[in-house]
């Protein structure tokens, strides 16, 4: 049953995760149509997840609450409770790690497991069954599992039978199973990419698998070539347990309670977003070199603009100022529905440096005697002996500010690794 060559990858996908966690928590909800949604009074009334009972009635993720209620008047609506979901997620990944060291969390409710070296536990389908049963028995949560020789096929497979499915997808199944499908149904192909592909006559995954590589590269860059490989069932990406730590950006956005073009109000929102971004940056011990903003107007037109900074920044005030500059340069004065700030080009705090400026170094140099003393103490007694106040407070586990969010960030998936030493003076 175990393949002689090649890998065995599982993709474990929790079924309607938030709703399932709520049902596990309160079993009286079981079997009922349940939706998790934001607060409609703050216009966050969009369905984040819903139970299969609700799905059967046509309720879908991202549907506005009022529309869902129309389809399903008995719909039970709950606001998200991220602490619960986080705890369930941690327990789920801990369970997966019993089967292999190579577990890669992708998000709060899905992850890859590399079973290539787990022969002694049984055949891959047997292991998958064990995993599914244990998650169900111990956590009372349903999941679907895909078994395949690589990540792409595993992810595709886990999607095929829901809930509580186990699907095997071999490379030789690709022509019969994948190729007839519309290219938009392929993982990694979004609406925009699908439009572009259809523009050059690629309509099915089969079309993509035989398409011209040069043309693809011109259209989609290197990603086009990768998509073609995947359409042929090839995906060399390893299961990387650390990939969740390679965060590329930290961003927060919020839908405003009502559309507004009141500059003062908008700047206040930016200031608050900057604060949220800074809290997360501190937790990850990083500084940013590129600040971006997102503006979504009343008519849903969305623009994103970013700027590379001369020096990395990490203070709330600096991030707010940078975002404000971008905002003033790019806002056309129309009413705004959503605002966001994203920090990219992240660098680890202890390897980041600030290039001093000829016209302002004197301000920094004033702190020199203090820093000299600190570095002498650190040399003598170790780096932890002294640091600035802000370097000591970043242990705060999870900020309260997530309370009103409907989206989720996966910072917590890193907590396992946060033993990395706390850094020096900042």
């Amino acid at each position: 049953m175990y393949p002689k060559n090649g890998r065995v990858i599982l993709h474990v996908d929790m079924n309607s995760f938030y709703a399932s966690v709520e049902m596990a928590y309160d079993s009286s909800l079981k079997g009922k149509p349940l939706a998790i949604a934001g607060n409609p009074e703050e216009r966050r009334g969009i369905i984040v997840t819903c139970s299969y009972e609700a799905r059967n009635l046509g309720v879908k993720t991202t549907m506005p609450l009022w529309e869902a209620k129309k389809l399903c008047p008995d719909l039970i609506v709950k606001t998200p409770n991220f602490d619960r979901y986080r705890a369930a997620s941690v327990a789920m990944f801990d369970l997966l790690r019993q089967f292999s060291n190579l577990v890669e969390p992708v998000s709060i409710d899905e992850g890859y497991v590399d079973l290539t070296d787990s022969q002694e536990l049984g055949s891959p389908p047997a292991i998958a069954e064990m995993i599914q049963k244990q998650i169900y028995d111990q956590l009372d949560l349903p999941c679907s599992i895909g078994i395949a020789p690589n990540k792409f096929l595993a992810k595709t497979a886990s999607d095929m039978k829901k809930p509580m499915g186990i699907t095997i997808l071999r490379k030789r199944d690709v022509p019969s199973v994948l190729w007839p499908l519309d290219v938009e149904q392929m993982h990694g192909v979004g609406k925009k990419t699908a439009e572009k592909l259809k523009g050059i006559g690629i309509n099915t995954i089969g079309d993509l698998s035989t398409s011209n590589e040069i043309q693809l590269k011109a259209l989609l860059g290197i990603n086009g070539v990768r998509l073609k490989e995947r359409a042929n069932g090839i995906d060399p990406r390893p299961v990387d347990p650390d990939s969740v730590y390679d965060f590329k950006s930290i961003g927060n956005s919020t839908t405003l309670p009502r559309d507004t073009s009141n500059q003062q109000e908008l700047l206040k929102v930016l200031e608050k977003l900057a604060e949220q971004v800074v809290v997360r940056m501190k937790r990850k011990q990083v500084v940013t070199t590129i600040i971006g903003i997102t503006i979504r107007y009343k008519n849903r037109k969305t623009i994103t603009r970013s700027q590379k900074l001369e020096n990395p920044i990490a203070r709330q005030k600096e991030i707010y100022e940078a975002a404000k500059r971008l905002f003033h340069r790019n806002w056309d004065g129309e009413p705004i529905r959503l605002l966001g700030i994203t920090a990219t080009g992240l660098q680890e705090l202890d390897s980041a440096v600030r290039q001093l400026d000829l016209f302002s170094y004197e301000k920094e140099a004033e702190k020199e005697p203090l820093l000299n003393t600190m570095s002498k103490l650190q040399d003598k007694y170790g780096k932890k002996i002294i640091g600035s106040a802000s370097s000591q407070i970043n242990q705060v586990p999870n900020s309260k500010s997530t309370k009103h969010d409907t989206s989720f960030n996966k910072d917590f998936l890193q907590d396992k690794k946060s033993i990395v030493s706390r850094k020096k003076d900042y």
Partner: protein, 378 residues
């Protein structure tokens, strides 16, 4: 207009004026090269309205006929095609013939091009500059002045004035200063001519870079004329005009430290190579920073640490280390740029603290100075 010209001379001139021509211009005719034939010779002009270059090819030089003028006149030809054509012509002489009004024929050997020209009357006039305020310096010195300062100009448009080099003439001395606010390069030169004029202007770095490319390394004098908004560099057969940057250049004199707390004298080449080695790993990381520390009386240590790649440490013997001990970090790129710009086998580096600018000079040479701001860790 009709003339026969030596291809090599034409090619050299075309290449020179091409330095000013860009395809991204709002004035369409500036994508062309203006060619004017007079009884004395042929003049070529290229311009992007910031820089204008005029190159003259005399009819006769050193008793050798270079151009045979058959009929005087003027035309503007598309620079992109004209320069490529001249480069690829088969024989050593070229005939350029404007047949009826704008139709231009370029003949060389058995090859014949027909190009549609533009009316030379439409070409903008070059600035009229009176040559009263001129001063002169040798070409090779001018090239050195440019090379030693222009690399330090800012490439960012946040402070446009810093994209230029500040030229000050006072008391028969020329001082060139460039800074991007992270490092500064300063070079002084005595003017041998009795220049009693006083100037303080900012020349775009790009103009100086282009100028330097078309000047030969000779001792021939260059006349420099400064006006309120233009500067003109004039050699025997070349006029180079550049717009000046508007605004006041910051007063940098007070920013250059006079006192020193740590003084290091070290061999330029050894130091440069050590920095280069240390930055081998650092430049792969996110910032190209090396650490410099004094150790005991006579040596220094250069190191860098890029966690994801590795680290490097190197000790260098110095001639002397005087004053307080010091640990400082700086951009390896800025240091290498500065060292490459300096002449002299020994350099003196003067520090005034880990968070203050430091100064690098060749030993016993006050004419040139490089200043670098360190980096500080978070």
């Amino acid at each position: 207009m009709r003339f026969v010209i030596q291809r090599d001379y034409l090619l050299q001139s075309v290449q020179d004026v091409m330095k000013a021509v860009t395809s991204r211009t709002t004035i369409p005719i500036l994508t062309g090269i203006k060619i004017v034939a007079t009884e004395d010779g042929v003049t070529l002009t290229g311009s992007d309205s910031d820089i204008s270059i005029e190159s003259f090819i005399p009819r006769v030089e050193d008793d050798k006929e270079i151009v045979e003028i058959k009929q005087t006149g003027a035309i503007v030809l598309q620079a992109k095609f004209f320069s490529e054509i001249v480069r690829k012509l088969p024989t050593s002489t070229v005939e350029i013939d404007v047949e009826n009004h704008l139709q231009t024929v370029i003949r060389s050997g058995k090859s014949e091009f027909n190009l549609n020209g533009l009316d030379a009357e439409e070409y903008p006039h070059l600035p009229q500059i009176s040559e009263e305020n001129a001063f002169r310096i040798p070409t090779d010195l001018l090239k050195a002045l440019i090379r030693q300062t222009v690399f330090a100009v800012s490439t960012s448009e946040t402070r446009p004035i810093l994209t230029g080099v500040n030229w000050k003439v006072e008391n028969s001395e020329l001082i060139c200063i460039a800074t991007d606010s992270h490092r500064l390069a300063l070079r002084k030169a005595r003017l041998e001519t009795e220049a009693d004029g006083k100037h303080n202007v900012v020349i775009p770095g790009k103009s100086l870079t282009e100028l330097s490319k078309i000047l030969d390394d000779t001792a021939a004098m260059v006349d420099i004329v400064v006006t309120e908004n233009q500067v003109l560099f004039k050699t025997k057969h070349l006029l180079f005009f550049s717009r000046l940057l508007e605004g006041n250049y910051p007063d940098t004199a007070r920013l250059i430290p006079n006192e020193r707390k740590t003084d290091v004298v070290v061999n330029t080449k050894e130091f440069l190579h050590a920095i280069d080695r240390a930055s081998l790993l650092a430049r792969e990381g996110k910032n190209n920073v090396v650490k410099f520390s004094t150790i005991d009386g006579n040596s220094i240590e250069i190191s860098s640490n890029t966690p994801e790649i590795g680290k490097v440490v190197e000790e260098i013997q110095t001639q002397s280390v005087e004053g307080e001990e010091l640990k400082i970090s700086f951009s390896a790129k800025y240091m290498m740029d500065a060292l490459k710009a300096l002449e002299g086998s020994e350099i003196q580096i003067s520090f005034t603290g880990a968070m203050r600018p430091f100064v690098i000079r060749p030993l016993n040479d006050e004419a040139i100075l490089q200043l670098i701001l360190p980096v500080r860790t978070y």
